[in-house]
């Protein structure tokens, strides 16, 4: 070990959503004296508005801190943030790979959650030292001993001297920092070896191009070096290396064991993918670091400009997002109902929701999104296979030999009193129970195999709703399986609206058809004529509702010359009309597309 390395600690924080990861990061930063309290934005690491609102981390922020330990030595802490959701498992695994240890935050009032567990397993796979801490001990409902026992029983690591902290109140932080110095190993690696640097996150900066967060395992890198990305074999000249403190500070060089950033005029995040290895072009490493994979979208949906929104504006926004998000894909798509738009691919449902919200908020766009779909493998009679992610592109039934759908392994963790109702919703969604285990006396893990199209439809909402928010879910792709799937179409005033089409399991078609018709009946306003709403499989109508014609929409009286009131009323009505989409002769509010997907507690 090089001598400088013994004073470095590279670690991350693993926690379930809401268990206090960001607050703890704030406290650590505060207590290492790097940032004055005055400069601290609440929850330092989460800098996107959306992330702050949802309390989750999507893009990573990594910070270098200096901690003066009780032994009088100064230590460099590289606190590596990890994304906090099931959709970003791979990114999490790469962040973990950049560390030697992980601080595992467990909420003293909630105990261990499925997703925490998933991340702990990832950390164990990377051979990280796990340092458990019990958070929120200031709350009256805190049960620190139960939390410790759960950690020992479920994860199988010693938790008896886990620091008891309250990140919110700043209790026990000093003790935790000392534990980081003592328990988490210093990095190893040969600073004179051939360069091997792991990219664990990349983002696009308008001025510097792609900035990649890297962990150097061997060797060193400095400005002017010609680097090579080992998966793409592409070469770039390094324009800057530096550290985040937490704002970027250029440094002379980065060497084995250190964490920092590198800029090399890379134009797209997709060219500096997470997990790739950087080496020197003139003295390359023989093998890349293990674990690289190119992530693939699992969920697709259509994104269309809403009435009055420009196609070009949407395209530009999608391009900007893509530059920063290697996992996000899009391509042009045309719908007879919605016109020109884009077919977009996401890692999962949350990823999709986040992108949609960013388009609406950051880019201030009015968009319509269609039902999310998974990718179906369609085997044709002639033996050819087609991967279909847009229900409208499904070949005619006579050409199809059979259809296969993606199956995932779903790990669900719930308090035991909800087992019955959760098994019921899993059953309804064609889940196959593989295994059930009592993790503790009160908590149960259910392991299911389930079609992904059921998971993305409304499963997560249903799970949260049935368990009052206490249930958690983690899933990963298993395989494709043959299945009886049909295309369900929706007709408004006898005209097919392709944007409503979806692929569903035969056994679910009637119920889904009825549900969509009922929902649309609630949402579609009355017209001058009756509007029949029909759900159909091929030519066969399986459900029907009717929106009655309206008879009256007239203001009887404008009193005392108060024109402004009448005008406001009409303006409000106009706003409502703006959010309408014209399908043939029928006007449909844009909310209709998402409303037909929402989980309904009463169903």
């Amino acid at each position: 070990m090089n001598s400088y390395q013994q004073f470095i600690r590279n670690f991350c924080i693993i926690a379930h959503i809401d268990h206090g990861k960001s607050t703890l990061a704030d406290r650590i930063i505060e207590n290492t004296g790097l940032v004055s309290e005055r400069d601290m934005k609440e929850q330092f690491l989460d800098n996107m508005e959306l992330e702050r609102e949802r309390g989750i981390t999507i893009k990573l922020q990594t910070t270098r801190l200096v901690y003066k330990a009780k032994n009088g030595q100064e230590y460099i802490f590289n606190l590596i943030d990890t994304p906090g959701h099931v959709d970003f498992t791979y990114e999490v695994s790469r962040s973990l790979a950049a560390c030697e240890g992980a601080v595992l935050v467990v909420d003293a009032t909630q105990g261990v959650e499925a997703q925490t567990l998933a991340n702990v397993y990832l950390a164990l796979e990377e051979d990280l030292e796990i340092l458990p801490v019990i958070n929120k001990i200031d709350l009256a409902s805190a049960r620190p001993d139960d939390a410790k026992r759960e950690i020992e029983e479920i994860i199988g690591i010693d938790a008896h001297d886990a620091p008891l902290i309250s990140a919110k109140e700043g209790i026990g932080i000093e003790e935790l920092l000392e534990a980081i110095v003592e328990k988490i190993p210093a990095p190893k690696g040969d600073s004179d070896g051939k360069l091997k640097a792991l990219i664990f996150d990349s983002y696009y900066d308008n001025y510097r191009g792609v900035v990649s967060y890297i962990r150097i395992f061997d060797g060193r890198v400095k400005r002017g070096d010609i680097i090579r990305l080992m998966s793409t074999k592409k070469r770039y000249e390094v324009t800057e290396v530096g550290i985040y403190a937490p704002f970027p500070v250029p440094v002379e060089e980065l060497k084995a064991g250190e964490v920092g950033y590198i800029c090399a005029s890379i134009k797209q995040v997709a060219d500096a993918r997470v997990g790739d290895t950087i080496t020197l072009d003139n003295d390359p490493a023989e093998e890349p670091l293990p674990g690289y994979k190119k992530v693939q979208p699992m969920v697709y949906c259509g994104i269309f400009p809403a009435e009055g929104e420009k196609y070009e504006s949407v395209r530009e926004a999608l391009e900007k997002l893509q530059v920063n998000d290697a996992a996000f894909h899009f391509e042009p798509e045309t719908s007879t109902a919605l016109g020109f738009g884009f077919r977009c691919g996401f890692l999962g449902l949350l990823h999709m929701e986040i992108i949609v919200e960013r388009l609406e908020r950051e880019f201030d766009l009015a968009i319509v999104t269609t039902a999310p779909s998974v990718i179906y493998k369609v085997v044709l009679n002639d033996g050819r296979e087609e991967m279909i992610q847009n229900p409208s592109n499904l070949p005619s039934p006579v050409e199809i030999h059979h259809i296969e759908e993606p199956i995932v392994k779903a790990d669900i963790m719930i308090p035991k009193e909800y087992v019955g109702s959760i098994m019921e919703i899993c059953q309804e969604r064609r889940g196959r129970l593989i295994h059930m285990e009592y993790i503790t006396e009160t908590r149960v893990a259910l392991h299911y195999e389930m079609p992904l199209n059921e998971v993305i439809y409304d499963f997560f909402d249903a799970l949260k709703s049935k368990t009052r928010g206490y249930g958690s879910l983690d899933y990963e792709f298993l395989r494709y399986e043959k299945s009886s799937l049909v295309k369900l179409d929706i007709l408004l005033n006898r005209e097919l609206v392709d944007a409503f089409s979806m692929i569903v399991h035969e056994s679910k078609a009637y119920a889904r058809g009825r549900f969509v018709c009922e929902k649309l009946k609630e949402i579609i306003p009355r017209h001058q004529f009756e509007v029949p709403i029909q759900a159909a499989i091929g030519q066969k109508v399986i459900a029907r509702e009717t929106v009655k014609a309206y008879r009256k929409d007239v203001t009887a009286k404008c009193y005392g010359g108060d024109i402004s009131r009448k005008k406001k009323l009409l303006e409000k009505q106009k706003e409502g009309k703006k959010r309408m989409r014209q399908f043939g002769t029928v006007e449909v509010p844009q909310e209709a597309f998402t409303a037909v997907l929402k989980y309904d507690d009463n169903k």
Binding site: D553, A556, C558, G560, G561, D562, I563, S564, L570, E571
Partner: protein, 400 residues
Amino acid sequence: MAGERRPSAHTGKNKAPGKSLGLYIHIPFCMRKCNYCDFLSFGGIPEEVREAYFRTLIRELGYYGRLYRKDYYVDSIFIGGGTPSLVEDGLIGGLMQAVRDSFTVSDNAEISIESNPKTLTKRKLKTYLDSGINRLSIGAQSLDDELLDRLGRAHSAEDFLAAYFLARESGFQNINIDLIFAIPGQSMESWRHTLERVLGLAPEHISFYSLQIEEGTVFYDLFREGRLQAADDELDRNMYHTAVKMLEENGFLHYEISNAAKPGRQCRHNLKYWSMEDYLGLGLGAHSFLGGTRFGNVTDLNEYMQAGNGDSAERSPFTAWNYQNTANDNISEYLITGMRKIGGIDLADFEERFGVALESLHAETLERYRKQGLIEVRDNCLRFTKKGIDISNRVLVDFV
């Protein structure tokens, strides 16, 4: 301005000011609040407060008189409420005197006052006529006592008839009767019966309003709790068209969505609202449209009565907000108010006023609704068809 084109009817002693002006004067007092009413009015206000209110009105008249009497003459006055007939007749007499002190009122001005049948007396009616009020509007609403009770009206059908005859005896030659239809529980038969009896009285003007359940009313709360069933839209429209038919058969001219009059008896004041002419609203929460600016008075009674004590010169102390209309505002307001008139809007007048033809401004919208049979052009006027009136807001939305 339309006012400038109107031949001056003014024959006063002073040099004739050029433009016509309507005055609306709001009296926000009533015996009690009706169950459907969301207007700015209060029941149970003591006499001394009402007197103080009238003193404020007179201050306000003085303020605007100083600003506008040299440019405008008043050719319509509408004393509305609330229930203006509730207050002591001396207050109305004093108010009318103050109007004449502050403004030039043309000799043939239309001067209306609203009344509740229960509050009218011989003495009040005489005072009104003496002060120059020449048009009486009586809030009958229905001639079905059960419905009147449901509406929370303080009078009976008998009270209304007595008041009507008293007004005729007193000398009122221009009377409007306000009616409401589509009252929860009202049958077509009851509505017809009310119309027949009212037509039998041969008033000069009839207003017939479809009941709207508005937020902040007793009806709204009952409706929300499911204890009140709103009239079915189908019935509502049948009642409306029945009324139009009966009125027309009896020599009435249906000239605005909810108004009909004997020829020549259209309400000049209300027509100003529908034709974007200048009007000045005085009193609590009153609205004005003057010289292209819309403004509204404060809506808090105490605030209003405090106002104008220290007379500031720059801005009216009675005003809570004002808004200078843009060219687009003027066009859309001209359309949404003008289309309330059954005769519609004169396309030549539109072009003259705004320097652009309506057909070129809204070509696509006009074509679409014309095809759907909701609007039509007759005698170079754009207007709603009978079918179009029923759903007129759907069309007007596209002009906002």
